[in-house]
Amino acid sequence: MYNAIEELQCRYSVLINPALEALEINDTEKVDDLYDSITSPESAKRLCDFLALMSLPTNYGTSDDNIGIDKLALKSAPGTQGVPFSTNDRLAQMLRVSGFIAQYLGNNPMSQEVEKFKVMIGYTMLFITLEHGIVPAMKANNPPLGDQAISRQKMKIFREQLEARHGVRIKENSLKEKIRYGKVLWEMTKMGGVLMLPMLAVAGPGITSLSHDHGVTTRHIPFLASHLSENNLWMAMSQSLGPVAVELIFSPSCQVYTSTELMHYLLLEPLSAHLRRDLHHLFLNQADADPVAVAQLRPYRNPAHLGHKAASTMLHQFGLEISMFPFNSFPNPTSYQVKLVQWIISQDGHRVIKLPTNNTTSRRVSSTVKLQAFTSFLHPAQIADEPVNFLSHLWTLRGLPGWGMISPANTMKALEGQFGDDPESALSLAAGGRHLGVPYAYYLLPIATNLTILPLLVSLTRRKITLLVLRGSETTIECANDLLKVSIPSFYK
């Protein structure tokens, strides 16, 4: 079993990647700004909002609505130009227009981002059509054209084809400029993963300033992508939301997603404690968030409609690959594998670890444990109380809003009445106090028999307790109503 534990990857490296440092790329400050912008929890939340909006055909397909610009601007009544309105008339007119504006903005959340995204897709499509449509067709010419000839003529041929098909005049310089932006966007998508496109729409700079002001050139893109491949939030977003983005952008799917649902997909992924806390705060600020509903996420698998493999081959018929994840061109050479068993066995007997500092919980629980106590997890030792209690508290700190995990020791105390007689207050105290400012709606506590530990789910809001039974275990619970009679006497011996 020790070997099996050691084989599970646990890799670390020094913070600064020497391979990236050795590149000596100048002017990376603006790329760093872009990196910070697209990897913030706020941007993750906006990405969820945006993808959900895109999944609504009425909002994504047609951003126009029936309110014209004439209703959104202050205009004088015919024949009244130059004649000042009375105060009342002025206010009435302004309120009338503001009413339309409130309606327009309410019906078109993120309208600016939607428009920007459409333009970005437009530029990208022009580039893709030129390089993956026109150029291969020129290569297939008889006689075939050489690379230099193709490079010289491709833009002209592309313009002619567009003009012939659509009957419009297109300026070649304008087309070149758009294709240049499209090239940067497609390179960023290929190297950074498919989420680059929607993320740049919600968190990036304007399209034209992307390469000008932000200094993002094809030289910088692998540098940015390598950084992204080491970013916990970007990788978690790529894992959970990448296929959703492909589905919404490149497939004919009519699947509709809500922002809350997409946020749940993201929260399924392993995230650091501080990221999870920040995302929960953002989630709680969302008007339609229902903390209680969140925890019905029993399956590990992301329930998104499209799998990774299907998503990455979505554009194969056009000879294009789509990657969900960033491509790391400069792997960190200092990466090393931690042997967890060796590490825990070698720990000093007095060394302790502490729960992460977190001011979102009014903590009433022990916050430290000796590292050596974790050796009790290794066969054939009997698992000690302390690490289990500690992990219970740790996981409550990472818990979904409204969810608490009560440690075995505190379960015992709560059931014995040591936290008082009021169930809500007693269980809340046993879980370590209120977390994220949200009252607990569900508690999970361990109920022990001689042979096994069973999870007991207590819902205060529904006044219901559910005992979850491990199928195949030898514990017999004959009657749910006798549950506590069976369990409490043998609890945590």
């Binding site: 990857q9 974790f374 698992i383 969810w403 269980l427 199928r471 506590l484």
Partner: protein, 92 residues
């Protein structure tokens, strides 16, 4: 808190889905299964060592490794290193 309060409430017994094959369960294994289940239920997230396409309950080495990893993460506070595990995120 008394058992009488609980007994006034609605109650039910549910199978723990995905744990069907845990025959000959020992108390230790049961504890680890509980920790794994509780982590998923309370945090809504898969364990560090569990692959994204995994649909079931992790084996014991995976649960132990996940718990030890938590300890390692907290124990290395202040160290100049970052987590590079590629196991967490992978094409499914």
């Amino acid at each position: 808190m008394t058992k009488e309060i609980f007994q006034q409430w609605g109650s039910e017994v549910e199978d723990l889905r995905g744990v069907a094959d845990m025959h000959e369960i020992t108390r230790n294994q049961s504890y680890l299964a509980y920790l794994s289940f509780a982590h998923v239920q309370v945090t809504g997230a898969r364990l560090y060592t569990v692959l994204p396409d995994f649909d079931g309950i992790p084996d014991y080495p995976a649960i132990i490794a996940a718990c030890l990893h938590e300890a390692y993460e907290l124990g290395r506070e202040g160290e100049d290193a970052c987590d590079m595990s590629s196991l967490r995120f992978t094409e499914t």
